[in-house]
């Protein structure tokens, strides 16, 4: 078991003929992900890495039975791509695209839910179930299959944690990047709920950062979880009022500080890592006790 993606994932790549789309399609195919179709309007009949390209998501779904979509479409057109996927019945939509306006993110969030689908991202690195499916841009070679679920708002910091775990011979069940924007399709809490219900996952790593209160909301759920949670929060030294790269990483009006998040997580009995390498040490201890 694992969560969200696995060997039954039938992946559709939206924006497959673009630079990012084609590069990462190759990476995903090489990893062994079951990539069944691509969509680029006007490019039907072409192939990218042996994957057939269609004009519309609906055609691609009808022809291939795709159930998951990944969006590598530039920001001005990405919301439309997400609506198209949701309306064609895709159940999991992963949006990598950065710089999507918040007004569109609000619409994406509500529309996808209304259609009964799930959105991961935007502005996220995607997700990987080691050995089964890599849906996104997380480097495939850093993984190892195992009992730890990872959920994160960041990109390279997630890779850092995954690599540290793998180096310590601790594998991962699924690694999920939920995205660094103020409004994302799936929250920490929802992913934690899935890990709690996943028999393969024995411990969870949460990687948060300054801005908003998604970590505080997650802490409320961690309180009632049976599985140990190790948390790392980036941005203790971030000055208030400045956006630290990610659109959502900003301390405003005294809220969204690293201290507040760490306090909430500690209060929920999560183990707080002070450094990225401590994540692996704490997970090792937590797994031994679990």
């Amino acid at each position: 078991m694992s969560i969200l993606v696995d060997k039954d994932t039938r992946l559709l790549v939206q924006g497959i003929t673009g630079r990012e789309g084609s590069f990462h399609t190759q990476q995903m195919v090489e990893y062994g992900t079951n990539v069944v179709a691509g969509v680029t309007p006007g490019a039907a009949g072409r192939e990218v890495c042996g994957v057939p390209v269609y004009n519309t998501v609906r055609e691609a779904v009808e022809a291939t039975g795709a159930n998951t979509s990944i969006v590598y479409v530039p920001a001005p057109f990405a919301p439309d791509a997400v609506y198209e996927a949701a309306s064609a019945g895709i159940s999991l939509i992963v949006c990598i695209t950065e710089h999507i306006p918040a007004v569109d993110e609000i619409k994406m969030y509500h529309y996808v839910r209304e259609k009964g689908s799930r959105l991961i991202g935007p502005n996220c690195p995607g997700l990987t179930t080691p050995g089964e499916a890599k849906v996104g841009i997380i480097p495939g070679n850093i993984h190892k299959r195992g009992p730890v679920g990872i959920v994160s708002r960041s990109g390279t910091l997630t890779y850092e944690a995954v690599a540290a775990l793998t180096a310590a011979d601790i594998g991962q069940s699924t690694v999920v990047g939920i995205g660094g924007d103020p409004i994302v399709g799936t929250s920490f809490r929802e992913v934690l709920e899935m890990f709690e219900d996943d028999p393969e996952t024995h411990a969870v790593v949460l990687i948060g950062e300054i801005g908003g209160n998604a970590e505080e909301e997650a802490a409320e759920y961690i309180r009632q979880m049976t599985k140990p949670v190790v948390a790392f929060i980036a941005g203790r030294t971030a000055p208030p009022g400045r956006r630290m790269g990610h659109a959502g990483a900003i301390i405003s009006g005294g809220s969204g500080t690293a201290e507040s998040k760490i306090r909430a997580l500690e209060g929920a009995n999560a183990h707080i890592a002070e450094t990225p390498s401590q994540i692996a040490e704490l997970v090792e201890v937590a797994l031994a006790g679990a």
Binding site: Q27, A75, P76, H99, I100, P101, A102, V103, E105, I106, K107, Y109, H110, I137, I138, P139, N141, I142, S152, R153, S154, G155, T156, L157, T158, Y159, E160, A163, G180, P182, I183, I207, E209, I210, G212, N213, A214, E217, F232, A234, G235, R236, T237, A238, P239, R242, R243, M244, G245, H246, A247, G248, A249, G253, G254, A258, E274, T275, P276, S277
Partner: protein, 382 residues
């Protein structure tokens, strides 16, 4: 992106929200002219991207031209919150009977826009929120329907409005919501929304923060950007796709990825150092990007050591190492540099870096410690 008060009130006025008459002045002479056309007494307001303008002395009531000739140049030459005053807004002094707070914010939690109001306006709303959380009223707009008049009406009664002011308030609240959607703001704030002696409600002060990601479809608003309010190095960095924020410390940081960049700064601090900046170099770390990033970091005189932290991922470390070596070739200033590089072909990457005389490590913790140590040595030796 932050807008100045004079820009914000112009946008509010376009949306039918009553604002007082006001004239922008960029010199003492222009301020004198503005004041005489409005009639004394006037209020002179510093236009600067910073809160606490009043406390800093950037807002002054002026009764005569003589007074203005003294006050205007003083305020124009001020720095508030580390930023230079860009211009003055001259408005007639208002006879305020009561002050309210009204804003529309992007609500991260509810995934919509939410109207926030308080009958305790005119002061720092964050302080009100801390001390009297019950006096802050929140009304989320339905994501499809939008804010409805009944919601604004309920709010008006809760805030104690009576008679024709209920309708006036509802109109202002609805307009403010439409304004937030139109300009794609993350915040549109009126503080205070003042009841003046004529009985009217007017937006005495306002602030708009627009969503940077939406600027591509709002060229008119993009043009309102005031570069004088931003660090030159930060503007330069954003031009080449590098995200840079200057801080107070002496250890320059160059990292790929925003989360990892923050974590790197935190580590520097944890080991007793002080980060000089946040810098996300973006993907790849090619020679030209490394060179640009290094120049940006070293434009800060205080930097006495640089920590480069690259997580290779899909990019191969030997390519990254070559990029770093080449990118550093043209850098004239000599500071100790520590490179931490991990990923595919790591050993080869380290060999290339060491051949070029760079200290290279695999452990982030050790690299951060070393950077802190080298920075303190190099500061002492100066």
């Amino acid at each position: 992106m932050n807008l100045h008060e004079y820009q914000s009130r112009e946008i509010l006025a376009k949306h039918g929200i009553p604002v007082p008459p006001g004239i922008l002045a960029r010199s003492m002479e222009e301020a004198v002219e503005a004041a005489s056309s409005l009639g004394y007494p006037v209020v002179i307001k510093a236009q600067v991207h910073s809160g606490g303008r009043g406390k800093a002395g950037g807002i002054k009531l002026v009764n005569s031209q003589r007074e203005l000739e003294y006050v205007a140049p003083t305020i124009l030459s001020m720095n508030i919150g580390g930023r230079p005053v860009s211009a003055l807004l001259v408005v007639p002094a208002a006879d305020i009977q009561k002050e309210y707070y009204l804003s529309v914010v992007l609500d991260r939690e509810l995934k919509t826009f939410t109207l926030i109001a308080s009958a305790e306006g005119g002061v720092d709303i964050e302080e009100v929120a801390r001390e009297h959380p019950d006096s802050i009223l929140r009304v989320p707009a339905h994501p499809w329907l939008g804010l409805q008049p009944y919601q604004a009406r309920e709010l008006a009664y809760k805030m104690g409005f009576e008679g024709s002011l209920v309708r006036t308030f509802v109109e202002i609240a609805m307009s403010l919501y439409r304004c937030a959607l139109d300009v794609e703001a993350s915040l549109v704030e009126i503080n205070p929304l003042a009841k003046v002696s004529s009985g009217d409600l007017i937006a005495l002060d306002s602030k708009i923060v627009v969503d940077d990601n939406s600027l591509f479809r709002h060229p008119d608003i993009a043009e309102m950007r005031d570069l004088s309010q931003e660090e030159t190095a930060e503007v330069e960095a954003s031009r080449v796709g590098i995200s840079y924020i200057k801080l107070d410390g002496n250890i320059g940081c160059m990292v790929n990825g925003a989360g990892l960049a923050m974590a790197t700064m935190d580590l520097v601090k944890l080991y007793g150092g002080n980060p000089a900046n946040f810098l996300d170099i973006g993907g790849g770390a090619h020679a030209d990007q490394v060179e640009a990033a290094m120049n940006i970091i070293l434009s800060d005189e205080k930097v006495s050591a640089v920590l480069i932290n690259i997580f290779g991922g899909i990019t191969r470390c030997d390519d990254v190492a070559r990029g770093i070596v080449e990118g550093l070739r043209n850098i004239k200033r000599e500071v100790p540099i520590v490179v931490r590089l991990v990923g595919t072909n790591e050993e080869e990457g380290h060999r290339i870096l060491e051949d070029a005389g760079l200290r290279s490590l695999s452990s982030l913790e050790e690299a951060a410690k070393l950077a802190v140590e080298l920075a303190s040595k190099s500061t002492v030796s100066r």
